[in-house]
Amino acid sequence: MRFDVDSFREIADSLVRNKSRSLLTGFGVFWGVFMLLFMMGGGEGLKKSIESNFEGFATNTCILVSSQTSEPYKGFKEGRYWNLTYTDVERLRQMMPNMETITPTIASWGGSVVRGTYTASGSVKGVLADYNKIEEPKIKYGRYLNEADILQERKVCVIGKRIYNDLFPDGGDPCGEFIQVGPVFYQIVGVDYNSGNISINGRADQTVSVPLPVAQKIYNRGKVVDLICMTGKSGVRMSDEEPRMREILARQHQFNPKDKEALFIINTEQMFALVDNLFTGVNFLIMLIGLGTILAGVIGVSNIMMVTVKERTIEIGIRRAIGATPRDILSQIILESISLTLVAGSFGIVIAVQLLRLVETISLASGNTGGYQISFWTAIVAALLLTALGVVAGLAPASRAMAIKPVDAMRDE
């Protein structure tokens, strides 16, 4: 086999001779590679953009919600309601040493927030000062609620981004201003710009956060809390802690610790795992479709090469008659096949990369996340894969070409 300028000129000659055919055949491969890489990049970008929804949300978090019991236990009937209380918080704090933060919240839904002539819809959330460990606020103006606000039960609040935008269309620092929710006026101490899409008891950007004791009193909630949010210390797996939480609360509230319905535990660890699984599935599909398309393209190349070889019987016969060895013919056909797939595939790679760059630019310009571009090594692997597929595509046509006897050239067409 000779690898020099001449071999490549031979190949270029025969590919260029049938421009439209080479083009159409190559298009199959081009499209396959383009689809695969573009979808891979798109999938990755989508994953990044979904992950950005968890922004400002501790990944090691679980949330406890009380619910109806589903089993009779200790003389109680099934279907009994029970409530989490503030004492549960204290109890958990003492008995769960692996937890970093344990903090309750209560919420009052669907109120309107008023400032002068401006109105916004939002919900009131009663929280403690350490709630910022659960949902990390992005403080734009002022500060978050602090221990003093809680202890002195001040009627102060931190408002979300949408409420701020609705009530203060002119912008500016709203701290010190008063807003009215229901009958009560609260003084604004801070603005939270967090707009992650995960939220507990309402979206962060439509929430008015007030000190928990204030909310408890105003909304007549007594010692009852809606949710208890917890974050683990680093390295603690929340799913390992779950049984202990159930044990503690079940003993106190007299329900079966094995009754999963009585105490509902939302574990973000599981949610992240879910998203990961989802994208494993999506990536698998992308691979399946992309590789399938490439394969179809490569089979197209193989098919066309078969036809080409058939057409070139005489030419190949002549070459054999004047001294080409079967190996010369083999290498020529296989190199033709590789060139066709590789050139077409490279176009696919280049165009996919350019298009992903465009998508990334648009996405970043409109304030979304980027991360759409495929990596350099993905491109290299794609190119290597194409070379290998080129060889495979060339095998059948090449073996047919090798079977051509020089005598065939002597026969009249």
Partner: protein, 240 residues
């Protein structure tokens, strides 16, 4: 003897076995200009394929320059063809997407001769055949006679021991046929090239120095034709 055939037999086994060559004995010396004549089905094409190492034979022996040509691998056969034999075909068999000069270069490409050297040699040969101006033209831009001359240049370029011409005038008009035959004669006389022409035209055979008649797979008569006076219809044959 440059070429020696001893009792060469060939049978085709496609369905009904067909015994085509039934013991061919033939010797051809260096520098001879020979024609092999026969009707279609007489076995002359088969004989040519065997002479050109394009096909194998079942029995007997075939020597080129004292070397036994038998049981070769595809690779050896390709190598011998490349170095020892130049082919001229009836339908020219030039490669359509290559220019005249590229066609002439092709045997040297398979010998691994570097590009520049190859090009220079091809130009030399085209020049000798009066086609230097046509070097950059494609076969479909040339007349039949020109194409056959390109093919002759391609056959000559490896400086082979034998030129095998299969009906070299079959696709040409009578005037061009004569020119081509004269060209072959001139190459034979002036450069001592051994040329074997296979034909069924007695006029073509008459241009050669020796006429081998083949009939039904055996050699009938070997006519000395140095006077070029063979009858137009041959002697004791029923051919045209």
């Amino acid at each position: 003897m440059l070429i020696e055939l001893k009792n060469v037999n060939k049978t085709y086994n496609n369905g009904q076995p067909l015994h085509v060559l039934k013991g061919i004995n033939l010797g051809i010396d260096k520098g001879e200009f020979v024609s092999i004549m026969g009707a279609s089905g007489s076995g002359k094409s088969t004989l040519l394929n065997i002479l050109g190492i394009l096909d194998n034979y079942d029995m007997g022996e075939y020597y080129i320059d004292g070397r036994l040509i038998k049981g070769l691998t595809e690779r050896q056969a390709a190598d011998y063809r490349n170095h020892m034999i130049g082919f001229i075909f009836q339908s020219f068999n030039l490669i359509g997407f290559k220019t005249a000069v590229e066609n002439v270069e092709l045997p040297l490409f398979y010998q691994g001769v570097p590009r520049a050297k190859r090009h220079q040699m091809a130009m030399e040969y085209l020049d000798r055949l009066g086609l230097a101006d046509w070097a950059k033209h494609y076969p479909n831009e040339m007349s039949g006679g020109q194409k056959q001359r390109v093919a002759i240049a391609r056959a000559l370029i490896t400086n082979p021991k034998i030129i095998l011409a299969d009906e070299p005038t079959g696709a040409l008009d009578s005037k061009t046929s004569e020119e081509v035959m004269q060209l072959l004669g001139k190459l034979n006389r002036e450069e001592g090239v051994t040329i074997i022409v296979v034909t069924h035209e007695s006029g073509v055979a008459n241009c050669t120095d020796k006429i081998v008649h083949i009939k039904d797979g055996i050699i009938g008569q070997i006519e000395d034709n140095r006077e070029h006076r063979a009858s137009v219809f041959g002697t004791s044959t029923i051919m045209k």
